[in-house]
Every structure is written in C-alpha cells, then in structure tokens.
Symmetry: D2
Subunit: 510 residues, 4 copies
C-alpha cells in the first residue's frame, strides 16, 4: 500500500532451498520455500511462483504460479504435491506495469539440450534491449517481456553448443555475466544444484543461510554436521522465519553452487578495473525489512543512524518527534535519541483501508489521508511536531498528513526526511516515477515547505546517507573476512546512489 502511494517499488524477491545430506531427508523443502517467500512478500505482491525438484537424474520439476500474495497464489492442495521434493527456488514479483500477467510470473522453467533449468531473477538488466536483439538474431522467439526468459535463452545457446560435450553451466553463467554487468541476483536450479549468482556490482542483495536443528539455532558453535539444509535469499529476514542461521552474503560477481553437499564458491567475476561495488542504497532506506542484515549490519540500525545524522544535520526547535508509520519509525527514534526531544505517536493507521473502491467525489478527495490515518490528537495538540518521513517521492502523501496534524492542533509541523531527494530514474530494478513526476524536479520544490504546508522541510544529505550506511560496515569487515576467504577486491565498499545523484554505476548504453 505504501509502495503504491510513494510510487517507488522493488522488483522482486528470490529464495531457494536445498536439503542437506543424503536424500530424502526430514526437511520439508516446500514448506521452507513457502515460509521463506512469505518473509520476502514486502518485495513484491503481484504474483508468486515456486519450482521444486526431486533432484533425480533426470529430475522431475513441479511448478506452481499464481497472482497475488503467496497465500492466495498457492493452494494448500497444490503445495502438498511438492512435499517430497529435495530442492527448489521461488520468487515473488512486484507489479511494474498496470496489467498483471501470469505469464511474466517467475521462476521461468525451460527445457534445454542439456536438461531442464529453472531461473528466478531479482533486478533489471541495463542492456536488456540489446540482449533481446542478440537472442532474436540467433533465431529465438521470446514469448514474454521478462528478463528471466531472456536470461534462460542466453544460458541455453551461449557459449555455442558445438564447443560443449556436456553442459558446463558455470561457463554459461560466466558467459552471461560477461554479457550483462548489472543488475541481477539470480537463482538457477539445474537437476540437484542451485547456482546463486550476484552481478559484479552487487546491486541487488543475496545471502545464504544454514538450516540447523531448532534446538541449536542459537548455540554459537554448530558445525557443518548439524546442517539440515541450505537456503539462499534476497534478504536475511527470511532466515529467522524458517529457523536458519545467517551464513554469509553472496559476493558481488560471485557464482555459488549450493547442493546437498554444501556451499561452494565457484568463481568471482570481477568488475572493470577501478569500479566500486554498487549495492542499491535504497535497500537500506526503504525496501528491505528492518530486521534484515546487509554487509554485516541490521537495516533497522542503519535507519536509526540516518535519523541520528538527520538530527545533527537538520536540528529543529520543537516539542516532540514523531513518525509517519510504519517505515519511518526507526529514523524517528534515532532523531529523538540524538536530539533529546521526546518521541510520541501522532497517527493511528487503519490497516483495513485498502483499495478505494468508492467512486470518490470532491468531499472524499478533500478528506484524503484521513481514511487511512486517525490523529492521536491528545498527544500533540498545542505542540510543535518534528515529523520524520523516510522519503518524499511525489509529495502527495505527506501534504494531507501535515494538514491533518495542523487541523488537529499541532502548532507547527516540521518535516525531516531521512534520505535525500530522489531526482533520477533507476534502470536497475526499482520502479520510480518519471522524472517529471518527482517532486524534487518540480518548480514547486524551491518552496517545498510552502507547497506541502509544512513549517520547514529538510532532507538528509547524500553524504549523510552514505556515511550513515558505511560507518557500520568498517567494523564488520573483519568479522566477515574470518568467515569467508573470498576475493578481497570485491570487499571494497560502494553503493549505488544513482536515483539521488544521477551517477550510474555503469554506462547505460552498455
């Protein structure tokens, strides 16, 4: 709901699982997959898909796809059929266009000369258009507009068949990564193996978890022998909900093979000399669930830190600090802690307000946000309020909230935004309004406070955001190095701020 209003949205979430040890095992992979996917539901609500395999040779794949939330997309009866499968991948999709189409639903499954593969993709290929041409020039017809199908067809025919006696999927995946720099986090299931792949810029997140006996979930020293299964996910929040321990991130450019024998790093495809990683900074600001961990730090903590820094950059002479529920709450608490102002709640959200199914007339449009939020009047009447929001995209959501607060008795309302203004489109998997729709590009932005009816408006600076994000990483670097002994160069720190600065990590005409 918030996504729709703010106008920015994640493309997708991916999740995979392989039962560890001798098959069959006690682990019900389909259950793990479904629960894991539910934990990624915030990354996409349009459609969901799951593909499981018995891992035999040749494998039997079973596919379920449906529109809507995971809970409506998969029926309990259909899930029962997946019960005995040993590995699988799944996907939840965000609606990027008006028309929802089941056929764009992932994972994409195809039969190739060397067997059946299933592919789930989070991201957006910057050079999709050129790649589509390439694929079609090879004589392949493409039946959807999805990058997933494009990726599967690229995997199927390059490198040329004649060079291969047997399928060398790793060579094919590396080849694919040469063809397209970003952005993708991929899960590719083939027979009894899942390949987890992250683009060289690490633009989209991907991390690995280890399922252990519930009883050992929180004991520090579990060995590999305790492993019941391996999971791979867009976000670590899904590990909590299935009882898995965080294992490590897939590195930028890395191809990891996950099988019942464990996790094996196959290679790390490097970035061009001099390029930094470009992990999407908006995953921290907005998209990710606050209990997820990226680069060794909890998202909630980063948001809190953004709030603290905002309090330093943009202090306010006010009585109370509050939040636009729910996503801005960590930043608001950070702002309150730093500023010493008391934190209160000013809005009560009606969680049942969904689609406006009523033909709106003038009166109702004027009411606007009051359908969604009730003012907790007694908490702020007669007071000066600092209201923290996580981002302002179009500016049409915050304005009626300010009006609501003022009418309910706030003497002043100061808006503090815990991220910088969005000014540029994203071509790497985030759905952002057109440049013209962004409030920061409009003439009214000069007097944004007046435009939205606030007493003042301040944004976090780009530098402030970047340092709030990166200051937590330094202390984590050591810890991670101990866990994984991977390519050092990819451990350099860098984040994509293209939507804020216009500096894209790769040339767009790639």
């Amino acid at each position: 709901m918030e996504f729709e209003e703010s106008g920015i949205g994640e493309e997708c979430g991916v999740f995979g699982c392989v039962a560890a040890g001798e098959w069959p095992t006690q682990l019900e992979v389909a259950q793990v997959l479904t629960l894991g996917l539910v934990a990624l539901q915030h990354r996409g609500q349009e459609s969901a898909g799951i593909v499981t395999s018995n891992g035999a040779s040749p494998p039997t794949y079973t596919t379920l796809k449906g529109m809507g939330l995971v809970s409506t997309a998969f029926s309990p009866e259909a899930l029962l059929n997946l019960r005995y499968d040993n590995l699988g991948i799944c996907h939840t999709r965000y609606s990027t266009s008006g028309i929802s189409e089941l056929q764009n639903c992932q994972p994409f499954v195809v039969d190739t000369l060397h067997g059946r593969i299933a592919v789930a993709h989070n991201g957006e290929l910057v050079n999709a258009h050129a790649l589509r041409k390439k694929v079609m020039r090879h004589g392949v017809g493409l039946s959807t507009s999805s990058d997933s199908e494009l990726i599967t067809q690229l995997l199927a025919f390059t490198p040329p068949m004649e060079e291969l006696d047997a399928p060398d999927w790793v060579a094919r995946i590396k080849n694919l990564m040469m063809e397209t720099p970003t952005s993708y986090s991929l899960l590719i299931m083939y027979k009894d193996v899942i390949y987890a792949v992250r683009d060289p810029y690490g633009n989209r997140p991907l991390c690995i978890g280890r399922i252990v006996p519930i009883s050992k979930l929180h004991s520090p020293g579990t060995g590999e022998g305790d492993t019941e299964g391996w999971v791979v996910s867009s976000e670590s929040c899904s590990f909590q909900s299935i009882g898995a321990k965080y294992y490590r991130e897939v590195l930028p450019g890395e191809i990891v093979q996950i099988s019942n024998h464990g996790v094996k790093s196959l290679t790390v495809v490097p970035r061009p000399e001099g390029d930094l990683p470009a992990f999407c900074i908006f995953e921290y600001v907005y998209f990710a669930r606050p209990d997820s961990v990226f680069e060794g730090q909890m998202v909630y903590t980063v948001r809190q830190r953004c709030g603290r820094r905002l309090a330093i950059e943009a202090p306010t002479d006010a009585d109370v600090v509050s939040t636009v529920p729910e996503s801005a709450t960590p930043a608001a608490l950070g702002y309150a802690q730093q500023s010493g102002l008391p934190y209160i709640e000013v809005l009560c959200k009606n969680r049942y307000v969904g689609r406006t199914f009523i033909q709106p007339n003038t009166r109702l449009r004027q009411l606007g946000v009051a359908k969604k939020f009730g003012a907790l009047t007694d908490n702020f009447a007669g007071k000066r309020v600092v209201l923290i929001d996580d981002s302002i995209v179009r500016g049409n959501t915050i304005s009626p909230i300010i009006k609501l607060l003022k009418e309910a008795g706030a003497t002043e309302v100061h808006i503090r935004v815990a991220s910088p203004p969005i000014r540029y489109p994203c071509y790497m998997g985030i759905n952002i309004p057109t440049k013209e729709e962004l409030i920061a590009n409009k003439p009214e932005f000069k007097d944004i406070a007046g435009y939205i009816g606030a007493d003042s408006v301040e944004y976090l600076t780009v530098e402030g955001l970047v340092s709030a994000v990166q200051e937590g990483i330094a202390s984590q670097q050591e810890k991670e190095k101990m866990i994984s002994s991977t390519n050092k160069s990819s451990r350099r720190v860098g984040h994509c701020t293209a939507c804020l600065t216009g500096k894209y990590p790769v040339e767009l005409e790639w």
Copy 2:
C-alpha cells in the same frame, strides 16, 4: 489476527448516517456509511452489511450483505445502487463461532404491520434465552440465532398491537429496554429516522458526530446550520475518516432520534436504583482503536496512563522498555516515560503472515512466532528488556516471543501486563475463552514467569486499571454537561470489570 491469537474478540460495530436538511442533498450517504464502517473494521471482520433508505413514505430500502471485510463484502457496482439514498445503517460482525453464516449478517430487515424496520446491534442480550422463549411463546418462529432478529420480533409484537392506532416506535423501544437490561447499542432505522439506543448500563459504546463542510471541520464555532449530515457510530475514530466532528455520546439508557431535522433525545430509561453504569473497561484496554474517544478521553491516553501506572506498581531493574506490536505500544511508551528507561523496538512484524496454509510439522511448530515476528537483534542483544503486553489471555502467544528474544540475545525478559488477569467469562458481547482455557485460572499461573519463560511477570491491578481509566473522566464531566442537558444520574461513572472480578453489572439469570 491478534484477536484470534489472544482469543478475545469484540462482537460488532455499528454505524449510521442521515443527510441533513432538505432531501436530496449533496451528501452521498452510502459513501459515508462505507467509509465509516471501514473505520470500525477492527470490531469485526467476519461479515458486513449495509441498509440504506430513500426515506420516502413508504420507504425503499436496499440491502447489501457479504462475508469478509467491507472491501470484499460490498462490490463497487452494488454500492452504486445506494448512491441516491438519504439515510442508512451498517454493521460489521466478529466471528464468534467456527461456522460463518451469511444469514446471521446484520442489519436485520423486517416488514412489520407498521412498515419496514432495519436493526443493527452491538452487544449480547444477557437474557437472550428467556426472550427467545417469550417470542416463540407468542407464536413467532425464529430463523436465526442472532439477537438482532430477536430484537426485531420483540419490537414487532410488544406492546400488544391492539393498544396502538399507529406505530409508536419509541414506546416499543422503551418496552424492549424494560425486557432486557444489557448489553446493547442499537441502531433502528424506520422510514426517515434512525433511533440510536444504548442500554441503561451503557455497556457498549455509541456516539454521535456531525458532518460539516471540510473547510469548517476544524473551526470551533460551526453552528447547526453548517450541518451536512448526522452520523452515529460505535467509536468516534470513524468520524475522523469521514470528516465529521464529534458531537456527543449517546447516554446509558438513552433513546436518541436522528433525522434530517437533527438530533433529539427522546428519553433516558433509568437503571435500577443504586446501580452504576457499566461501560466495558476492555474497550479501553484492548478493543477500541486508540484514536477513539470515550467519556471525553482518548483511548490512547488511557492506555498510556495504564503504562505509567504499571511502571509505578511494578518497576523493573532493566535496560530498555519495548512492546509487543502493535496494540501495546501506548502502554509501553507510558511505562518508558514513567520509568525513565529508554523505549526501543524489539520485534518487526511481517504483516503478510496470515492463515497458516501449510500443514505444520514438528519443526514448524517449534518455530512458531518467528514466522510472524522478526527480532531486531541489534536493539536489545546483551540487554535486560521490559516487554509490555496489553493482556495475557491463554499465555500461548507471549511465551514464544520471550523465547525468540532470549535466543536473539536478551539477557533478561520481564513481562509487564497493562491490565489485570482475565478470570471470568463475559456474557455481554465479548468472546472470551472458557474459564478453563484462561491462563489465570490454571495451576501454572502460580509460577507464570516460569511457565512462559520470563524472568518476571507483573500485572496491573484492578484498582490501577480503574483509576487509570477514571482519573481522566472527572476533568471531562464539566465540558460534557455543558453540551448535553440530560439525566444527571446517568452521568455517574462506573465500568464493567466482570471478566477481571466476576462482579457482573446485572444478575445473569435476569
């Protein structure tokens, strides 16, 4: 969702609207009704019903009913048909039994000798069984188990028809109130009028609002001439969402007539000598939306006050205070303010977790609450946490949360409950587990901390709760007396604490 888990639930919400002035007016009554009902959705999610009338003589009524949330129960197309109606009532219902039945959906509409009436009811008649017998002894067949049908049939035949030349609905309603002391808040629509009725004990809430032009919504001195319509609702939170000003409560025992000519108090049926009002104290503790106002005070404020008092009654040697989201948050903030301990968030709720459609196996049952809540580890690892909950009913929800927090690193978890233990059943509209299921009645309650895995558990006392509720009312009394010049005796303060103390406001064998 919380309701299901905690095992206590409200029965229903009622809402009504009459367009003011000469009909037809600009006000779209059906829109107001639907939005008002959505704002009461927390009071019932099983089914919804709406009945509108053109108010003509004889009137044309239109009825919509459906299962589920308001948004699914009414289709936009069906709502369009109500567009030109001038008044109406609606109802949202809580599932009290396993089997959901459309035929129990309210409002109940019947043709009587004197015309068609529609009835919406919140509450539960303590003497329903005896009344059913009485109705049937008169030769009436009852086609549902709902109190609503019972009420309509009682209204239809008593007082005896032969005593009446024309319908005297007020006499009939008074007669009904003589037959049954509590609990009911009723809306009765007849032709061009809505009668709003609250039982003499005022057990269920009911209040009146006035729709004014949006532009005048927050100007203090709007006169009656500005009135666009009148609304009546279980809770005032619905007024915010439709742009209405709070007008006043319906008093215990009062019959109020609402028409396009305004609001008129017809009578106040008194309680037996010496009886106090008995407004359900759990409306404050649990059921109502925090932005609603009862007896002149905002529910959120009362909850915060409960938290403060709890901090005094049960202080804790700890590092941080937190909440089980979302309903306990005001109490947690109150506890933090009073105790001086910092307030933090410890749990992140996955709002997409709904029905468990997966056949749970042992592993998943062990995981339990982790599907629903993610631990915000960094916020509390290594700390002693005071966790505030609003009530503990069965004890099976809080226990896995404590486990989750401890496993994620909390060194101590102290539970503080912002209401007293529930020990007795409610016969007045609240769905409470059987006595045996209530944790406070179990042998384990002696060592409740050990049972649920907490380091300590403390409850707010009954006295503490009552005084947290009532201390805010005194200061409001004056204000209200100025607005309404009604029966003084009903202005005495009193609350039903039967589920906590076993002291019921009326004899149950009534």
Copy 3:
C-alpha cells in the same frame, strides 16, 4: 436457457427423503436428496437448498444453501457433513426477479415454541398479500418476501398457542390449508417426520416413491419389507435417478406423513363443493421432464398425443415435419406419425451458447438465433417444412428460426404450435410475461404468420389440449384406485387452463 427466451418459468422443485426402518441405516439420505434434486434442476436454476436431520429428539438440523445449480450450490466438503443424517428435504428455485437473493433460498428453517421445522414450497399462494397482513397483524416481522417464510410463521402461531399442550402439527397444517386454497405442494420436516402436503386443487404436482434394493427395482412384487427409504418429489423423473419405484401421487388436499415407519395418509382437506381439481396443464405442455408421470401417464406420451391431435386439427400440405429442439420433439414425432409426413431434424443446437457476453451491435442482433442454432441445410433445402413448437409466448424466438430456415433453402415454413395461445397471467406459481408482452394479446396476432414470417401458423385448441391430456387418465383411474383408498371426490379430473382461458380455479381476491 429456453425458459429465459420463452419467458415462462416454473417456480421451484421440492424433494424429500426418509430412511426406512431402524436408524441408522445403510441409505445415505444426503446422496439421495442431492441426486433427486439434480433430477428436478429443470424446475429452477437460481438457487438450491438442503436441510437434513438426524431425526433425534431434539433433532440436529444441518442446512446448506447456495446460488446457482445444485452442483455449484453445494460443495462436496459441505455435503460430507450431512452423511449420517436420516431424513431431509431440499429445494431448487427458479429466478422470478432480476435480483437473485440467497435469503429467499429455501427450505426455510425456524425455531418455534415446539421445536425446529423446515419448510420447502412449490407454488404461489394466491392470497399471499392478505396472509402477510394477517401475520404482521399478529405482531410478526417478516424478513423475506418468500411464501415459505409466510407459511412457517402461519404454522407457528395458528391455531393459537394456548389451545395446545403439545405441538399438533397436523392441526396446524390443516389450519394453514383453510387459510389458503392454492397453490402449494409443501414438504414440512419436523424432527423425524416429513409432512407432504398438496393444496386442495392439486395445482402443483407431488408424488411419492419407494427406494428398494437395486436388484429388486424392476421386480413387480416387492413388498414393504424391501423398502430402504421413502422419497417425495415434485416429479417422478427423480425416482429413476435414485433407484426408487413410483408409489403414488399425493392427492389434492391430502396431508401425508412420511417416517421411517412408512407412508400414512392423515387427512384430505376438501375443496369447496362443486370445484374440480386444477392441476396446472402447463406441467404437461412445457415444464415437466418428459419422463415424469402425472395422473398415471407419462408426460412424453401426452406431448406426443398433443402432436397427433394437432395434426388432425391443423393438417399441412408439406414435405417434412421437424421440431424446435429439444422440448417440442415429442409433439413433432406425434405430428409426423399422425400425418404420415417424414420426421427430420432441421436445427443443430450449440449447447455452449450461454449468456451473450458480447456487447451486441447491429450486425450481431441481425444474426440473432444463428449463434444458437446451426441449420442442417441438406435435410430441408428445397422442401416445405412443418415446424412444431410447444408454445409461442412473445414470438421473438420463433421468428428468426423461420428466417434461418428460409434463407437456408426451405421453400415454405408452416408453424404448428402444440398448445393454445397464452393470454392471461398466472397467479399460482408460473412466471409469465405481462399481458401486454404476450404475442396473443398484441394487434399483430391477427396476422401472426406474417408477423413471424411463416407461411402459416396454427395452434392446438384448448379443447384439443384438454382432451389430449385427459384421455389418458381414464384408463389409469382404475389402477390408482386399487393402490390408494382415498377420498373419491378428489379423484375427479380437472386441469387449470387459466393462462389460456382466464378461468381461474379460485377467486383471485380470496
């Protein structure tokens, strides 16, 4: 589908079953009920309802209701719950108004002073309006517009409660029959008994069947000892589909008690002196399934006889005889047999053509019936066709068929209608267009052949129809008298032809 087009329709079908002998038995009553109801589906497709009982004291009733065909109205899961019940009644309803309402769905179940009863009704009370007034004057509110609820409330309060120590349902039913002369075939379930009731004029059909072991289904001499259950149905066609033997009709005015002990005639309420029975003649002409038996004769045979008589009354100089499929086929075969002309098929029906979901434009409207029927050109090109239809109501269906045949090569098309023109409304359970809509009342009727584009049009006379119906009964009278020893006067023959002649069996202002 035909119903919709022709514009006349039956109101309903009723069906009941009681397992015979000591309960529980092997007979699955719910299965029998569902199959029996499916066999009556042609009598109503709007909604279906079933109520079963375990027959205990007090009994437990289970009710299922749903919109649409039996197959969609009842889910297999829901039916499973009825599995162990010992008796039940069910009902299928025809849509008489634009708005389909679940709440009008029968059977109607009510709790009365003396217990719960369930009522299923086929017919329409001619004095419903006066009876509603009477019921409401007693102080009863009526929540639906259905005669079923009216009947249950009348049963509940008359004769006055005070005259009764215990429920005397038979007295109540007799009393009901005194209040309303026609039209009704009723099933009333009370505890362990079904009362089957037919109005004194016998306007709607009702007959009884006996379930025997499949092996003895066709052996002539099965005794009562072989009885596995008793069924009662609007039409005997349902007996075939459940493996029951036809037992006998319920007589006009008769109250029959059906229990596990067998079938018992309780009384026969007489008609006013001199009145003949008034069984709806359109059951023969149009509504009933051709394999049903009324008054000892198969409906198909009567229709065939109508065709033969039509051939005598209205002979044609033509080459071939054909039918508008499918209901007119027996009459067409009868016409062919009598006239000696060869019978052929001229139209092929597309059974998949349902609701026209396409916005029709001029071109499509011109096409009309061609969507539904394909011309079997080679069978009639260059020939003179006699086309038999069973009735012409509005005249808008037959006209495009004639056009289709002519354009496909028929040199002449002569319409012969196997029933007389419909000119009057029915107030006894049949849905007929308003007088103005009936083609027989329009000025164009004078040149009906020209109007519909036929070379000639002839109808069966009223006398012809009546004698085609009644000539088969005489020979049956003896047989039936042997089976049942009931009131002789009710054995007189008479049929309601009100829609054809305007002679109603009772005064309409009753």
Copy 4:
C-alpha cells in the same frame, strides 16, 4: 461430457478473422472471433485464447487467455479492449492431460527478429520429439510441452537468419512443412496478415468463409466487393453463427494468405509421390458438429448415410429404432429410414448432470447411468429395440443403458454401432485410451453382446464407413473445382482410418 465418457477427444479448434477493405472498418473483429470460437467449443473445453492485432507496423497485439469455456475464459471487460483491432486468431483447447495448465493455452505469441508472430495449432506433430531435440540443439530453451511453441521456434530460426534480409515467412512456413509431415492445421498471424496452413495430408480440417452483409447472406451472386471480412476456421459450422458464407477449404499442403485485400493461395506443398490425403475419418464419425461441411458434404448427411449403410450391413428383426442421445441421432434416423422400422426416443437426458461431486457408494454405482438418462418407458415397453450408437470405445457407457432399457420393459435390445471398432492409438491429434483399455482389444470382445448385456451387437465395417464418407464427395468434386483452381493432385480422395486399421498415413518414426 460425452467425450469424457467415451474417452476419445479432439485436441483443439482454431479460428481467425481479418476485416476486409480499408481499415478501420465497421466489422468488430473481436466479436466475430469470440462467436466463431464459441461455435467450435465442442472441439475443446479446457482453455481458450485470443490474440488480436491492429495490423499497424509495428503491430500492437493483445492477448487474452483463460481456463474453461470461452464464456468464462474471456471477461466482457477484457474483450472490450480488443474492440478496435482489425484482425486476430483464437483457439480452444481440449484437455489431454489431467493437469490443466494455462501456460499451454494457445495462441502462442513470440517476438522474433522480424517481429511478433502468433500461432494457433490444431493437430499433433508426429515427429514432435525429434523436432524438440532439433530446436534445443540450436540452443533454444522450450518452456512448454506444446507443439505450438515448438512451431514458433522452428519458424523463428529456420531457414538460417543470415540468408534473409527481410522476413520471408512463406519460406519459413514451407521449411516448417518440410520438417514435419502431419498433423496440423495452423493459423499464423504476422502484422496485418494471417497465414492459414494445412498439412500435406490434410489430416485436420480448415476452411475459409467470407463475411457479407447480413442482407446478402443468402443471395447467390454476391461479388467480392460485398466482402466485409474473411474468416478461417476448423469447421464451417462457425460461419453460420457469425453470418459468413462458406468460401472453400484450405487444401492439403496449402499455404493461404488472408489479408484485408483478400485470400491468396501462396503454394501447395506436395505429399510424397503416391501418398493419398489422410483426412481424419473420425471428424465425420464423431468430432465435428453435424452442421459442418467437409469436402463438400454436410457431416449430418454422412452420419445419416452411415446409419443407412449399417441397416443394410446389419439388419435387425425388431420393432423400433432409437438413439443414444444426442450424437447418434442422425445415424439412428438413417437406420430407421433404410430399415422401415419406426424411429422413437427411449432416453431423456438430464442436461444438468455434470461432475459427480458425490462420493459414490455401492448403491449409486449400481444406479450408474440412471442419473443421466431417464427411460421414456411407454415408448418401448414390450418392444424389441434397435439402439444405434456412434462408437463404442471402452464399453462402459452402453452397458448400463442396455440394462436400464431392459429393466424398463424392452424385450430385446440390439446394439448397432455406426462405425467400426477402434483398435489402435492415434498420434495425430486425437486422444484415445491406451490399446489395453479399448474394448475391441479385450478378450471379452469375442462375446461383446454378452459382455454388455445386449441381444446382439453389430458394427459398421471399415469399407462401409469409408464408402459412406466417400460416396458423397464424388458429386461435390466438380462444384469445388469451379470455385478454386488449385493443384489438382491434392484433390484426390483419401481418409485416415489408422485408429480402425492401424494403417498410419506416414511412418511414425518420421
């Protein structure tokens, strides 16, 4: 329903339409497509798909697909979006496997190097397995098991891209036809053109119609100037329902281009020297709608002729002739005409009996067919019945019908089957039970009469069937030659009788 019981089923139906003349025109192509598809609904009820195009350069295609009948698969709202398109193709699919999958739903739409194409296919490629291998060897991944995708990918990459400057779809289609001999009737939409293709053996039907003004539909001399649009369809029955005139068949091996400029035969790909055409003879016997025309003769007439020939080959000493409704009726009338025995109806079909949703117990299984058919007892009691069926596949449907008739009083029941016994599988688009399931391959077949309970059983001979089919063609040959001046060699007559004789038109290992 019959299909399910008999166990044989058609694969699909295809339909296309192009508006004639300057675009836009008055013709609503989407309406024509939908109605045309409804008329082919008997060829497949699993799913339906439609693709329309505005025919611009580049074209905009719109696709609708859904499960179930056309009426449920396409919503009226969705169809509205296709309103202004100028050409399109559609498809209805028969369920060949237990699992219905939306993704196998046709038409298949793909983007290729030279633009977007849409393909609808009726038939089954005998060498599908080898072709899949070939496609995958080229490096293409196949995402479905449907022949349609296979065909589109073959079209996309062969002949090799490098040989082409611009798309030469005709060369590609010819190339495809070289790769696979049978069976296919194809519609390929590209930009503003539909290519209609029939395999060299003409195994599946395909014919062309011309939409003319309704007023001129039946005037013989309409010129090309009157043409409003062109349609192409699996069966001509669909032309009647949209107001189109039959134009001609697509010849075996022919590629026809249909555009707004008219119909143009591009080429005819020849069969191997000496091979006859192999039009599926079961289209006549069973699949096609009786009002369709193949090879110049109406299917109904052929079936009637089969009945006549059966009367000659297998005369019966009996009293009456009847049919298993509805498909065997033409043959039964033919048998009656030839034999001189009177034709009567013996069974009344309950059209509402659908899926058996009741858990069947022993009693119900014994009842069997009685749920579906009511015996019209009076028509045959005491008589010897010849019952004509169109085919006997498994033998489990006819047996209970015979029992029903005998128990209802038939003294003898003689089965005469208007086609020869089915003994072999079909690999060309017809779904036939496995060899073991076919009654003709079971030991019981020796005494088939005893096995099914008949007094005698006789089948039409293969020679009889073939001559019944072919004797009508000779007289048509001249007429057709005048209409179309195409390749003479393809005008030779030949029919596929592989399921009866095991003689397949091509080697199966092709």
